[in-house]
Each structure stands twice: as C-alpha cells, then as structure tokens.
C-alpha cells in the first residue's frame, strides 16, 4: 500500500497523458499533501487509455483511506471500471469512480482529500462539479441552507436572517476568491464539524464558492445556523479579512 497516510488519493484517467499530468499539476497547487496520480494515454504514449496504467495508479494512490478516480471520455470510464473489476474485493470497496467533469471535479476532489475528508466526502466534492457546486452531502442536511421563509433550525432567528451567527466581511485581496484562496477557505471550513455558509453556499464546497465569483471589494456574509458555529464563522471571516496572505 502506498499513497499518503490518512488521506484519500485521487487518480486522473484521461485519453491524453498531457491532460492527466496537467491535472495533477493543477490540483497539486491546492493539494500539495495529497497523492495525485496521472493515468493518461496508452502504454506506448499514444492517445487512448491504459488498463495497466489505471490499475497501477489506483495502487499508487491508495493509502487504505480510499481512492477517487476521475475519467474523461467513454473508454476512460470503461477502462477504469475494468481495472476495478481486477482489484481484490477489499481494495475495490474503497475505490470510487467519480461521475464528474474531469477538471472541476478533479480539483474539488483533490482539495477535499487534502483537508483529510473521508472517501464519501471526497466523492461528493467531485460530484458537486456536475451540479454547479451544490454538494450532494449538503442536500439532506437541513442546517446547510435554510430556505427562505422556513423556520430556522434550532437557531434563534432574529430579524430576517435565519442563522445562528453571522459576520459580514469584505474581500481585500487583489484577485478575490480565486482558486487558491478558495481552496484555503474550504480546507479551513473542513476542519470544523459545523455547517457554515458563504453567501448561502456551503463553505466546504470549493466549486460552490468559486461559482460566487467574489472579487476584491465584494461583501461576504459568513454564517452558520448551528448554535456552535460561532468559532467556525469567526475563523473563516478572519481568513477573508486577512486577505489570505496575498497583497
């Protein structure tokens, strides 16, 4: 077994070795401490997918915590599924093919893996790319996004905002909440058990936050409906106010 102890690994299966390697490079910017493995191209370097490369990549990424596999077109999925068929049952149980756009889903999954999230959350983060950033894990969580007009869950609803605690801060870093700071933000959010939101979006959803398109000067409401969410909201709001260490 290899991979990074305690972390889910991520494998990119593409018809092109350049695409797979490029994705590892891109995702590694936001997930330096996670094992990301490229399985692109055929065995002789041509365009296509390789069963052997896919199988080896899964083995290389597997720390025992599981592996999320992202694929591009048609045969990449078939090749990955076939590679799964040949794994031992106990290994196959912790390998998931994530049905998600390769780039957006792969980066979201890698960031979730970096935060130490378990396999199910890494897969959900990847899938969220297919639904514009609404992670499937948050759907069944009533605290995630209080619907307008619905009674607040457990929180003392004061005024028209039905949240337990919130802070409104301003984006100060020059390029706004682009990929790297958004990833930092999501990683910090992932260290808290409570659910927090950023302008209504799940604070743990990289794609959800990036989809907000928050630029310098934008006003951001960090909130949590959870009575125990104060610490998380403060930490996340502080991170935004300090500009993520950027000018």
């Amino acid at each position: 077994m290899s991979g990074t102890p305690g972390k889910v690994g991520v494998v990119f299966v593409s018809h092109s070795s350049k695409i797979a390697e490029g994705l590892v490079e891109l995702a590694a910017q936001m997930a330096q401490g996670t094992t990301l493995v490229a399985a692109g191209g055929t065995d002789d370097g041509g365009i296509g997918t390789s069963f052997d490369k896919a199988g080896q990549a899964i083995a290389e990424a597997d720390s025992g915590e599981g592996v999320a596999v992202l694929c591009d077109l048609g045969s990449a999925i078939l090749t990955a599924e076939t590679a799964l068929d040949f794994l031992d049952d106990d290994v196959r149980d912790r390998v998931r093919i994530v049905d998600a756009p390769l780039v957006e889903g792969g980066v979201a999954a890698a960031v979730a893996a970096e935060s130490g999230a378990p396999l199910a959350e890494v897969v959900a983060a990847g899938r969220s790319a297919a639904s514009g950033g609404d992670e499937t894990t948050s759907v069944d969580d009533p605290a995630a996004a209080p619907a307008a007009g619905a009674p607040a869950t457990g929180a003392a609803a004061s005024g028209d905002r039905q949240v337990g605690y919130s802070r409104t801060v301003t984006i100060v870093n020059r390029d706004g909440l682009h990929a790297r700071p958004a990833a930092e933000f999501v990683k910090l959010a992932g260290t808290f058990d409570v659910k927090a939101t950023v302008n209504g979006k799940d604070a743990k959803s990289l794609l959800g936050i990036m989809a907000l398109g928050l630029t310098k000067g934008a006003s951001v409401e960090v909130a949590s409906a959870d009575p125990a969410g104060r610490e998380a909201v403060d930490a996340l709001a502080d991170l935004i106010e300090t500009g993520f260490g950027e000018a």
Binding site: D43, G48, T49, F51, L73, L78, T79, E81, T82
Partner: protein, 221 residues
C-alpha cells in the same frame, strides 16, 4: 462432436487474421462516425494476443485461451473496444470454466456470457448502434439453433449469420452510446464499426468450427 482447444486457438488466429485484413475498413467506418482508431486498436490487440498464444500450456482449456484474449485485449487495445471485448471474452471464459470440450449448450452459454459482459461494461441496449446489435441477434440465433437440436458448427454458423445481419441493420440507426452518439442524425447511413468487427469475430468462430470439425460433411456451407 464437440469443440475443444484446437477450435478455440484456431478461432483466435482467424480473428487476428480477419481483423488485420479488415483493418482499413474498420478505420474508415470509425472515421465516419467515431474517432477512427477502431481498426488500428483492434489490430494491435489481436497482434499482441497472437504473440502470447504460443505460450499457452499444452493442456490449456478453451476457457484458458479465452481468458488470455481477455486480459491481452484489455491491456493493449487502448480504446473502448478493449474493456468491452475484453470483458466479453472474460465472461465467456468464466461461462465455460475448465471444460475441455464444448457442446452446443456450452457454446450458447459462451456467447450469452460474452454478450452479457459487453452489456455489463457498456450499458448499451439493442438498437443503440453498438456491438450489442451484432451480439444479441447472434446469441438469439445460436440459442434457437441449439434448441432445434443442431450441431456445434450449425450453431456458430447461425450466430455468425445473425451477427452479420445485425451489423448491417445498424446503418439506419442513430447512435445512443459511444463517440457516434455525439453526431445525432449524422450517424444515419453508416454501419457501426463495433458491430462490424464483432460480426467478423463471430464469423471467424464459425469458419474455425467448420474447419476443425471432421464430422461436418458440408463444411463451409
């Protein structure tokens, strides 16, 4: 009159030969509605199979030979047909187990498992303009021939003829799976390359059976 390892290896050699012979035709079909690599991919796969075929032990069963084809195609084809046909041969190998001699029922089980393997992997249905449109008529025809009490050669002949008709019948279809599905109605009028190659492989099985069967007086017809 059953079919054993000699038939199996002859089928495989004839498959490699026919794929090589029709390489250009398959490339052309695939270029019209896909990415143009089907003939090349399949030829590379079966060339690799041929290179390994001589390493089979003398007491190998038909299932052993089919499994060799499966793992080699999966590893070497590089396109969707690798996992698809690879899974077909793998399930076919599983269906015949370590039987040394295959009777009509075993051949029907082999073809059915192969077809089911393609469905399992590709999740296509009949009429989606895929290799399933060759395999399913072949399985149905083989089953009918076996139920009719026909011999092994006749069963495989029925399968091959039905696969050829099935491949031809993909021409007017709109594709619902694979790269051709991106083309919508532009795929109409073109034969599916996967159905075509599968019909070639099933014809090779019938030709090998006719050739290796001493009890068939009118082999070839």
């Amino acid at each position: 009159m059953t079919l054993g390892i000699d038939w199996t290896t002859d089928w495989i050699r004839r498959s490699a030969a026919v794929v090589s012979e029709h390489r250009g035709e398959l490339i052309t079909l695939d270029r019209e509605i896909g990415d143009g690599d089907h003939g090349e991919n399949l030829d590379r796969g079966f060339t690799a199979v041929l290179a390994k075929l001589d390493d089979l032990p003398a007491d190998a069963s038909p299932g052993d030979a089919l499994k060799l084809v499966a793992t080699t195609l999966i590893s070497t084809v590089g396109g969707a047909s690798g996992p698809l046909l690879g899974t077909a041969y793998l399930k076919a190998a599983g269906a015949v187990g370590q039987e040394k001699e295959l009777d009509g029922a075993a051949l029907v089980a082999l073809l059915t498992a192969a077809r089911d393997g393609v469905v399992l992997r590709g999740k296509a249905e009949s009429g989606d303009k895929t290799m399933i449109d060759a395999w399913t008529p072949a399985v149905d025809a083989a089953s009918a021939a076996a139920a009719d009490g026909q011999d092994e050669v006749a069963i495989l002949e029925a399968a091959a003829a039905a696969a050829e008709q099935g491949a031809a019948a993909t021409e007017p279809l709109v594709a619902r799976k694979g790269r051709a599905s991106y083309l919508g109605e532009r795929a109409i009028g073109h034969r599916d390359p996967g159905a075509q190659s599968s019909s070639l492989l099933l014809r090779a099985a019938a030709v090998a059976a006719a050739g290796t069967s001493p009890a068939s007086p009118s082999a070839g017809q």
